[in-house]
Symmetry: C3
Subunit: 257 residues, 3 copies
């Protein structure tokens, strides 16, 4: 067993709503994750078991109510924590402490105290986020609900969805199979702003993953999309009431020739 030993008992407190949002983002891909706390805040990286999607998340220490942590790492079983956050009001304060002797996490929510074992860090691997070159098409979608709408319409048609930007004026999300098809058209200005556009971009993605991810992101959010040609999709958005950011990387589906 490998637990980081710190001198002082580490303790943080955070709004239940912010913690829940953070866990939901990570748990869209994995059940267990390594939480790294340092001077800047909390950082989590995870890759799904099939290595199709990655998530990289950072929550600034200003997203916490109190943040008294020596740099440390802990392995967390996400559903166990999420389970105890069900039905807790978003602005209830959750206090998290690590007992270095027993390797247990203590969670306080008002008068409730829950203790749970942490996961042995030596059994966990943290993915390296690949250093992708700047992608051709980068846009800021005003409302993630539009992307969610495309995902839902695609689900009855195919197992894949394609994001396609031939000019900077239109971003199409579509899928088709045999005689059925769907297309959602997003327009520059109305639906998104262009961050960068240096040529046409188009890639297809597994709906299994894309749906999972979009459900974790949720609706009514600003969502940055970086799209290439048969290239991984980068999705960036804010969490923690603006005091954090999350990045998904989703591998493209390369069609068999």
């Amino acid at each position: 067993m490998v637990f980081n030993v710190v001198n002082d008992m580490s303790e943080i407190s955070i709004k239940a709503g912010v913690l829940r949002e953070t866990l939901d983002v990570i748990s869209s891909l994995v059940d267990e994750a390594k939480f790294r706390f340092d001077e800047e805040g909390l950082k989590i990286r995870a890759v799904d078991p099939a290595h199709v999607a990655m998530v990289d998340l950072a929550l600034s220490k200003s997203a916490f109510e109190t943040y008294e942590v020596e740099p440390m790492e802990m392995g967390v079983n996400l559903p166990k924590v999420q389970n105890h956050l069900k039905g807790v009001k978003a602005d209830s304060i959750v206090i998290l402490k690590v007992d270095d002797d027993t390797g247990r996490l203590t969670m306080n929510i008002e008068n409730l105290t829950v203790k749970m074992p942490l996961i042995d860090l030596s059994e966990m691997t943290e993915p390296k986020i690949p250093d992708l070159p700047d992608m051709k098409a980068q846009v800021k979608v005003h409302n993630s609900t539009e992307v969610l709408k495309a995902v839902k319409a695609s689900e009855s048609i195919s197992d894949y969805i394609t994001l396609d930007m031939q000019t900077e004026d239109v971003l199409n999300l579509y899928s088709s199979e045999e005689l059925s098809s769907m297309n959602l058209e997003l327009r520059k200005g109305k639906d998104y702003d262009v961050i960068q556009f240096s040529g046409p971009a188009r890639s297809s993605f597994s709906l299994d993953y894309f749906s999972q991810i979009m459900k974790a992101i949720g609706g009514e959010k600003e969502l940055e999309l970086h799209l290439g040609v048969d290239y991984p999709l980068k999705m960036l958005f804010h969490i923690g009431e603006g005091e954090g950011r999350a990045l998904y990387l989703l591998a493209p589906r390369i069609e068999n020739v």
Copy 2:
């Protein structure tokens, strides 16, 4: 494959809520139906696979936002269309077009475009609605919720429900089995108005069908009932914000002697 060929591309637009209501009425009995568009509007007739219940529906062209259609027929897979209407606001406009070359239906809902194959009309039969003589007891029930209430109470008791009108003053809906029974009493004036009453009427109906149909009709609606003696039940109500009407015919259960 048999598709009606028209010169101009046919196009109609309709509120999502009205289209959803129309499809719900038909899909209570069948999964596929023939939609007939003519100068007056849309007409649909269907009979369930066991030939126990029929529906005959007409939506006036005034129920549509725009209606530019050459007379034509198309075979529609109802769940496929319904699926794309889920979560769409009732007053969103849905545009429907038929591509005569490919035999596909195109549906536009704001920035979403969905295309789906139509069903070969040569494989579809449209039932003839029998020309039933005037029935003995004809009433206008003020609120379909009362009939729904009777259906729900019956479901835990029997597989059948009986509608019984011995005088024009009372309409009883009841079911019984062994020692259990339920009776819902509707009264003239309070619960219904009499359209015609020329003698006692009583018939029993399968709850499987009656429940299905009442769920499609829904609550809080005016509902016309025509009842005979061991005779099919006629149920008439308005759809499309008053710009359409639907008729169900439900075969009676004839008790074995």
Copy 3:
């Protein structure tokens, strides 16, 4: 078949909400129960099939809208009655009558009449509520929601929950298994008032039963708890808008040594 014969037709009326609450308390332990009506009101006692939990309930005749009953007993199938109360407004009046000739219960809810067979009383046993001595720790918990919270947090951890009161100042509800644990701390004054405290008390209970019971009690209720040392738990609360009271007795789990 044994039915109590009375001269006059017995008839009571009661608000649907009060009847539903009463049935929910009993049906947390059994599907069938003997209802005893006497000059004071309705009394019901039941024990679950495994004889782990008992309920003893009394609804004063003032909890009824009308109460014209000769003393009598009837055997009721609870789910059958509950089924017909679904969706009925809490302040709708339910009229209950017993037909002594046929042994059937008639239930009127507005214009709906339901008849159902009663259960043969000779096949029913009514438990004797044991005459337990005064327990060491007796408290009045201000809000049953706190206990519900402890039950929910326990369910992901263990099959048992322990109630523990070492001093009169703190009541702990906890459960643990291997490295996981949860503890909910209730404090005197803030969360409960002390009725009596004559020494430490602690007992453990099966969550299967405790959850069932707490769901029937519901949240936002004052709840009296009598706790001993490895002793049955007594739970008392009001029903029927204050015109009735219910008592649960739950056997402790005695740990194997």
